[in-house]
Symmetry: C2
Subunit: 397 residues, 2 copies
């Protein structure tokens, strides 16, 4: 028996949590508020079929789609990111500082390859995205949780944690956070960039939900306030284009982008070409604005249906966040209720959700009374039906 | 300035070599024997266009292609690997022990995530594939070279190196090796599996070229002789389907496959869905046998053209391997000739190759008189023209 690398032991606890949290979420008879998948109605399937025809037509990009490609990603997709996704948010950047990656999580993984040694401290939001914690565990980082308020990370707690733990990195999902749906305020974004510079800490800004905002006012990325290359911005095409395409991008300084590219080369050479070309043709063909409007309209209705149903059917004393975008709301049930224990009964009743406990790296039982509820995948009637079932279960618990 | 992880320093030397070796290989006016890309004529572009139409037609797999998918890869592709690629080679396996990965190199990367701690020794062939060494460097392994003969790794040298260095892993490309084009004999394959069991060492069998054999007799994978789960088989679809699709697979024991899947989940969640579905439809639609015959016929002619041209135009005393498949031959020029120094002059003459020196982890100047020559990308006339130019340069050097 050949021993595993030491990182494998560090991963076991979180890997088991991830395995349990999302287990069995493919049964179509269950109304699932688990997972974080976009609505199937939000996937531009017909359009992508047409773009495939164009790509593989004579004189098209068929050979390019099938041959090896550049480590950093194809130029026209990097340009689309710079011009259509970053520039409108106030980030002027050279497409050469953008690295195309195989999904948003790969950007986080690569940032760890470049910066994280075993034992390094990463400050994370409490609660935070458990799948990312699995990455941090693989790198044998020590995750230290920092308290969050309704408008994101508490800045006093953050500064204190920086002083106390000397972290290498702060990991944040500032907009429509996973799992909470909360958004970091403008003031706090600016403050976080200042703290990063003052204490020489890296900020990894993971922002996959920000582009599906359907109410409220847009906020600048933390990266806008970064004048000293302390912020790495990682984003994903999963919510605005397609998750199965496994496409994302990272924006960093030229030197860091070079290192991220070396780590990418030593992981899987480059990102698959056909998805990249399809995504570039989608943006550069001008299809994004209409698609974007359509999916925002879709999710707005679903969010409103879910929040109204929670208010109507969940027990008195339940609190929930009001996300202006993204896919999740976070319900805090009256203390003493146990969402972890309730889940098997919910599945019996053909309704599912993700129990909140797994999103806390504290691992001390907090979050037991919380649920992450995704309103992305179901139409309003199914949302109401599912929340009603959950409400009945909770009231009888 | 935030310090990089310590692995970044370990990667610099090889990353620079990889960067230099393959730099500037996209100029179409240059006859390039560098790179390792398949011929563009070997890419099933038209067929893939048709398969795309089928996938995105009403009632097709369009939504599946765009939505999140399983960490281990789609079931029908794993089944195609088991039934059409492994079973004919004498490997009976459960599709559940197969992990679909984003290109062959990702299989090597994931094996390192699961098994390699900093300082672990990996025995490698001398010469070996430099891009893989970049991965091993990222994991801060110590690569120890082992002498190779015309029929692959020298078994006495291998056993001695195992006794002396107590390696965690032996890395081998047994068939039509990169860079040398050499193939490990049947007897040595069996012996290697025995050594792995006897000394409790992992063998990573990287076998991306084996399916493009166009002369000689097929040999069983080392994995066939493995009765104790000491061999992990990593393979790629790059040479038989398409490199831009970034698809590969790994076969390991159930327990190791589980761990590889956890590392995959913490790297990029899963492999892109559309390339997986296209590849599954390609195999399960019965297109592979005809395609396979076509590309073998194509490469056979190109290999023969290159070997004949080397014999004709290169200086007396030049030796080269005779590969029964794959994409490379390895030319050893008369001692004293310097292929590294000659390359800028070759590029001036609009012909390119990969200098042999970079493939030796010894880094002591050996291989200076060697060239890796790929016959994959050019038709016979261009091969002859390019080799003639190189021969003239060598004779005048």
């Amino acid at each position: 028996m050949i021993p595993y690398a030491s990182r494998i032991a560090s991963m076991q606890e979180t890997a088991a949590i991830v395995g349990n949290l999302f287990k069995g979420m493919t049964d179509p008879s269950i109304i699932s508020f688990g997972g974080g998948a976009p609505a199937k109605e939000a996937l531009p399937s017909e359009l992508i079929g047409q773009l495939c025809q164009k790509i593989f037509a004579p004189g098209g990009r068929g050979t390019e789609a099938l041959q090896y490609g550049p480590v950093h990603g194809i130029a026209d997709l990097r340009r689309a990111v710079a011009e259509q996704l970053l520039s409108p948010k106030g980030i002027a950047c050279d497409p050469d500082n953008i690295l195309i990656v195989s999904g948003g999580l790969e950007g986080i993984y690569l940032t760890c390859q470049v910066f994280i040694d075993p034992g390094d401290v990463i400050l994370v939001e409490s609660p935070t995205f458990v799948h990312t914690v699995e990455i941090f565990d693989m790198f044998q980082a020590r995750c230290v949780p920092v308290q969050t308020d309704d408008d994101g990370l508490n800045m006093e707690a953050l500064e204190q944690a920086i002083r106390q733990h000397h972290p290498k990195m702060i990991y944040t999902i500032p907009t429509f956070q996973n799992p909470s749906g909360r958004t970091l305020s403008r003031e706090k974004r600016e403050k976080m960039a200042q703290l990063a510079e003052a204490y020489d800490v890296l900020v990894l800004e993971d922002d996959p939900y920000r582009d599906i905002r359907y109410s409220g006012e847009d906020l600048p990325p933390i990266k806008v306030f970064d004048h000293s290359d302390h912020v790495i911005l990682a984003n994903s095409f999963s919510k605005i284009f397609s998750p199965g395409s496994r496409l994302g991008y990272v924006l960093a300084s030229p030197e860091v982008t070079q290192k991220l590219g070396e780590a990418k080369s030593a992981t899987n050479s480059h990102t698959a070409m056909l998805p990249q070309i399809l995504c570039a043709e989608f943006f550069n063909g001008g299809y994004y604005p209409e698609h974007h409007k359509r999916i925002c309209d879709l999710y707005r209705v679903r969010r409103d249906a879910m929040l109204a149903a929670i208010d109507r059917y969940f027990p008195e004393g339940t609190k929930h966040t009001f996300p202006d975008g993204g896919l999740f709301t976070w319900a805090e049930l009256p203390m003493g209720m146990d969402a972890t224990a309730l889940r098997p009964k919910a599945i019996e009743q053909k309704v599912d959700y993700v129990a909140g406990e797994g999103f806390f790296v504290e691992r001390d039982g907090r979050g037991k009374n919380c649920m992450r509820l995704s309103f992305g995948a179901n139409p309003p009637e199914r949302i109401e039906e599912g929340i009603q079932r959950l409400g009945n279960l909770l009231k009888n618990a």
